[in-house]
Symmetry: C2
Subunit: 433 residues, 2 copies
């Protein structure tokens, strides 16, 4: 390792920190910047390199972390004002893996209160703006992480995804957002909203970087009941890809620009020799699934945040309280049926996706909307499917000007590595056109 490389870790850390200092005041993507901590970590890495140590594959790479994932010594508010002074003493498992790979942590990112929302318009921590479309929402609930990556304040970021909370802001902000197969990324040290649906996820601007990060983090966690081990990569396929488009897409009203981008992307695939066929996912009603998943999240959120709910002096917004109270007061069969419906549709999706290489859908029915516009109800109509099925899903920006459109690929369970390769290949066909 040369002195040149060693110095550059600190220089790079400074670069990202300076960018945050310059850019973030207008965005509010970060709720905590670890200025001193990141510099100290960079210096420590340099010292280890100078001592001849081989660092991990993410040596010196900075990460922005959604504020519901524990980083030792940094506040972890989960977007909730009552938790302003909560400072965990240990890293979440993902953060520990990140450090083991030589990565450093830049800070914590803005999010919807309790991760229950898709706007990142946080009453306590500010409204995150969309770097790709100023004046428009960044989406949520991991909006701060998406905005941090989209604006060049961080090369990669972590989020969490219950009904689409990684992929929705990735779609709106024009970055890549990846939610792996349920259980592939550990949830230890992640503040859970819904234990049935939550998954950590990763943001990046390019696939190769995302793959590097994913490989560092996809480690089986003995302490996480839901952890699953990722099998070795499947052999690469020589035959042309087969991409399925669910017929249920017709049940979702798309903004014209989204429909045009989707049609264009589909045509580009066909021109590249990729077969695109319609597939039917029995029982999947996108609206019913989104509503069912939301019921699951509200009830499990009422359990996860039962202390906040029980204390009438909690510093939470009336809207957040109302959602948790709805969950608290719901009769059990409504939740049981909603969860069962998610399981059934998820099962159908798991089967159908195995008949193709991946499903293709728009990520969101609309592009980012203006901060003051009405909040569309259908933001998660196309993302909740992957949560219900525990399937890996990635949102990739469509190749178009203006407000970004995200296109989503959903792969078979545990085929995460293959899905990332397919995303690279598919994106190549789009960029070539």
């Amino acid at each position: 390792m040369s002195a040149h490389t060693a110095i550059s870790i600190r220089q790079r850390a400074d670069y990202w920190l300076e960018t945050i200092a310059r850019v973030d005041p207008a965005l509010l993507a970060f709720v905590h910047v670890a200025r001193d901590g990141a510099r100290a970590e960079a210096a420590a890495l340099e010292a280890r390199m100078a001592a001849g140590e081989l660092l991990g594959p993410c040596a010196g790479l900075p990460l922005a972390v959604k504020d519901n994932i524990d980083v030792a010594g940094m506040p972890c508010t989960v977007g909730i004002a009552s938790f302003r002074d909560r400072v965990p003493l240990t890293d979440a498992r993902l953060v520990a893996l990140w450090r083991a790979a030589g990565g450093i942590v830049l800070g914590k990112t803005n999010m919807d209160e309790g991760a229950l929302g898709a706007l990142t318009d946080n009453a306590a921590f500010g409204r995150c703006d969309n770097p790709a479309a100023p004046g428009f929402t960044a989406g949520g609930s991991s909006g701060g992480s998406a905005a941090a990556v989209a604006s060049g304040m961080a090369p990669v970021a972590l989020g969490s995804d219950t009904l689409g909370s990684v992929r929705i802001p990735a779609s709106y902000c024009g970055v890549i957002g990846f939610k792996p197969t349920r259980g592939v990324l550990s949830r230890q040290g992640v503040a859970i909203l819904s234990w049935s649906l939550d998954n950590p996820g990763i943001f990046a601007r390019d696939i190769d970087r995302l793959i590097t990060v994913f490989e560092c983090l996809a480690v089986h966690d003995d302490e996480d009941p839901d952890s699953v081990a990722l099998p070795d990569p499947a052999p690469r396929y020589e035959r042309p890809l087969v991409i399925g488009v669910p017929v249920q897409l017709a049940q979702v009203t798309l903004e014209p620009e989204v429909a045009v981008a989707f049609a264009g992307a589909r045509e580009a695939l066909v021109r590249a020799g990729i077969e695109v066929r319609e597939v039917d996912i029995p029982q999947w009603d996108p609206q019913k699934l989104r509503r069912s998943a939301f019921i699951v999240a509200e009830v499990e959120g009422a359990v996860s945040f039962s202390d906040l709910l029980a204390d009438e002096n909690s510093d939470i917004t009336p809207a957040f309280r109302a959602m948790l109270e709805f969950g608290r007061d719901l009769p059990a069969p409504r939740y049981a049926s909603a969860r069962r419906y998610c399981t059934e549709v998820g099962f159908a999706a798991r089967r159908v996706v195995q008949s193709v290489d991946a499903l293709l859908l728009p990520t969101t029915p609309q592009r980012a909307f203006a901060h003051d516009a009405d909040h569309p109800a259908n933001q998660a109509d196309l993302t909740a499917l992957a949560n219900a099925g525990g399937l890996p899903a990635i949102s990739v920006p469509a190749p178009m000007e203006g407000r970004p459109v995200g296109l989503q690929l959903v792969g078979p369970a545990l085929n995460d590595r293959r899905l990332l390769e397919i995303a690279r290949q598919v994106q190549g066909t789009w960029l070539a056109t």
Copy 2:
């Protein structure tokens, strides 16, 4: 195939039917006997053999089927008077597999109303007596199947197990009852009480017969969301077995005869060179788990039987209605938390059982009790663990005179075949003493 063999299938069917005719009036284990159907099936099998066809491994073997599992053309009441006239047109998947293996169906067996109970004292279909202890309960909810096997009316029987509904009556009646890993036996065509906890199971008087039946039925079912494929048998172990006894057993008050039988069985293992060690299953509180699993069953039962519940003219008992209404009216967080607790304890059990070859526990804290005695609350305190963890568990009679005591072995997930071999080995040490 000789003519002699061909004739014996009918003779054997007649033998079992005659035994039922003689024995069952005093037991009420059957709610429907397929006298003509079983004879016709036997004749058809003979004709196929006479034509030179090789039949399956269960050729001519008769099966008694719990009355919540569909058999084409036979009533399937689920123990509910309102369903008296329900006659499914197709076989449950397990029954179809049974027929494919050359087996025949003797009839349907008595059970608790809706499978929600452990007495098989059915207001509409009668009170099943215990063949091993006349005047005492057969247990439930699969009491009819256990009693049919225990009394020699059927060589094997099917049941279903939510918190212990196969193993409890097996324990009380002195037969073997096996609940495989969740998903290994298909639930298609089985009337579900609780989709989170229900598993089909098998009764037999000896392990070899049970293994033969299990191998015919353990077939992956593409149509069942919860189906899992059983891996190939693990290689046989040369090293001595290690059996774990959970320390939580101390929290359950055992009837003295059960404690004596358990201690004797444990000593016999040690004398046979088997290591018996204490293990701790973190978070497992047997009473809390049983209560939590019961909440899950009541809520999911309220969904499964919502039509019966909504109709005030349904022919269901006030006690059954009250349990379903309790589930219907429970707040969602109570169910969500109960289900989560089952998942967490189940996860702990899955981990701990992998550190040994199997866990050993009494199946039930008590032997069968008199029909008129108070119904003990703790019947499922030791059985619900395997349902929470989705683990294979088998109840084997302890070698003692008088009212039977069942001893339970719980194995690692998907190690069903190995657990059956261990049960054979363990039972050998008991019989040798």
